[in-house]
């Protein structure tokens, strides 16, 4: 029974992840006064891609084929580590937050390898940017999680989120705000959202993540889109777990509150995307260093 209970959370993530993109797109359409694409468009896109054939360039090697699979695999593995609301994580052990960060790193590493494997100059450019920015956003995520670990005196994600209660807000309100802000910036940067990257553009000179996957087609591209949606869901789960700790005791209330918060988060991301312009490429590192600084502040300013 417990294993079934533990399986609910990752499966929920696998099912609901693309919906987040749908909510974001609906919000953006609402801001622009359009009807926008259907809420489930991301599902249709992924479904359509799975039924297409893939085209491989003669200059690519097996890495190009394996990359999207490894990327999706690493992201799904990461999905087993994060608890959500009252739903426990499938796997929990001491130090699993490090594994989480490095699973994201692994997925990114193979995306970059695929991009370099094609030999396209555009994709090399995108890869270089992606690596630069993720090298700056990774410390923000890691130090932010370390700050939470230090508050709750536990180094397992499950334990961290269970120990983060509404009392945390009363005692360490400023620290929660700092970590929450840092995680929000990381979420925007890692998922190629607007202050950092524009998910709508198909202009190689402005985009970062999108340019690396130009040569993927069919099911491979579907895997990449799905992994990206899942990654957004996971980072959202972390943010919601830290910022809105609901532990009322009733599992239904906790879980549905967390789900509603995920929806609100998607709307927030949509609102940010609609109201802000993309930053100049040179200013993005500044934003990410700022996020790291917020995380460090949260870690340093703790009462001793």
């Amino acid at each position: 029974m417990t294993i079934v209970l533990r399986l609910i959370n990752p499966i929920l993530g696998l099912i609901a992840a693309p919906l987040l993109l749908g909510i974001i797109n609906k919000t953006k359409a609402g801001f622009a006064g359009r009807t926008g694409q259907p809420l489930l468009q991301s599902y249709y896109d992924i479904w359509k891609l799975f039924h297409k054939g893939a085209v491989y360039s003669r200059s690519t090697s097996w890495i190009f084929v394996a990359g999207p699979l490894i990327g999706l695999g690493a992201t799904v593995a990461a999905a087993t580590l994060i608890p959500f609301g009252a739903l426990p994580a499938l796997v929990a052990f001491n130090g699993d937050f490090l594994l989480l960060v490095y699973l994201f790193g692994l997925s990114r590493f193979f995306t970059v390898l695929c991009a370099l494997d094609t030999g396209s100059s555009f994709e090399g450019m995108g890869a270089s940017r992606e690596v630069t920015f993720s090298a700056l956003s990774e410390p923000a995520l890691l130090i932010g999680l370390a700050a939470v670990a230090r508050h709750t005196s536990s180094i397992s994600l499950s334990q961290m989120f269970v120990s983060t209660t509404s009392d945390t807000w009363l005692e360490w309100g400023p620290v929660s705000v700092l970590v929450g802000l840092a995680l929000l910036i990381v979420l925007l940067a890692e998922n190629c959202r607007i202050p950092v990257d524009d998910p709508n553009t198909h202009l190689e000179l402005t985009m970062i993540h999108e340019v690396m996957v130009l040569d993927h087609s069919g099911p491979d591209f579907g895997f990449i889109l799905y992994a990206a949606a899942l990654k957004m869901w996971l980072l959202g789960q972390i943010l919601v777990g830290v910022a809105v700790p609901v532990h009322s005791g009733n599992p239904w209330i906790d879980t549905s509150a967390s789900l509603i918060c995920m929806g609100l988060l998607a709307i927030l991301v949509g609102a940010i995307e609609s109201s802000m312009a993309r930053l100049k490429l040179l200013h993005v590192p500044q934003l990410l260093v700022g996020a790291t600084t917020l995380s460090i502040l949260a870690l340093v300013l703790l009462p001793r």
């Binding site: 620290v175 500044q286 460090i296 502040l297 340093v300 009462p303 001793r304």
Partner: protein
Amino acid sequence: MNNTADIVMIFLVLTNLILLGSSRLIACIRTVAVQGIVLGLLPLLLNGWSLELHLVIFSAAIITLKGIVFPWMLTGTLRDLKTQREVEPFIGYGISIVLGTVILMICMWLGSRLPLSGPATSPLIVPVVFFTIMSGLFLIVSRKKALTQVLGYLVLENGIYAFGVALVDQQPMLVELGILLDVFVAVFVMGIAIFHINREFDHIDTDKLSGLRS
């Protein structure tokens, strides 16, 4: 952790970091203004909103000067200038923020080595005040424009002021008001000096002034 003094201190750290990382002069002036207003509320916050007359007058004076008069004077100066942003500082903005974090950590360490004799309202006061003073100094040495250096001077003064207010239980109002008057005169004179530098040289880069010596 949840006491208001702590929140004010964290706010102080954040405004300092914003100052270190932003290039637009008008944004810097506004940040310093907000910092001044929050610091003006600090004496009231620390005494638990007890609305004694001398505290209220003191707060009102601080808020009027630091939150309204200084920004107004500096914005007026800025309007006459051609430059609206700090271009090519000696130390770039990203590195400034990183250095700011390093300075903050050094200040935290320093603060832990300097325990206060009296009952401290917040353990963050000593490190954050040091950090504010240091970031004011950092702004003065790392930026070229005279206006940013005036802002650095104001931040430095804010730090010293916060130290006095937070540590001394009942600060002698006369002393603080005297300092405030000095700062007012200083900013006034600096505003005029910037205006003259600008008229004479068509820029306010202070590093070029050293060429006058030879």
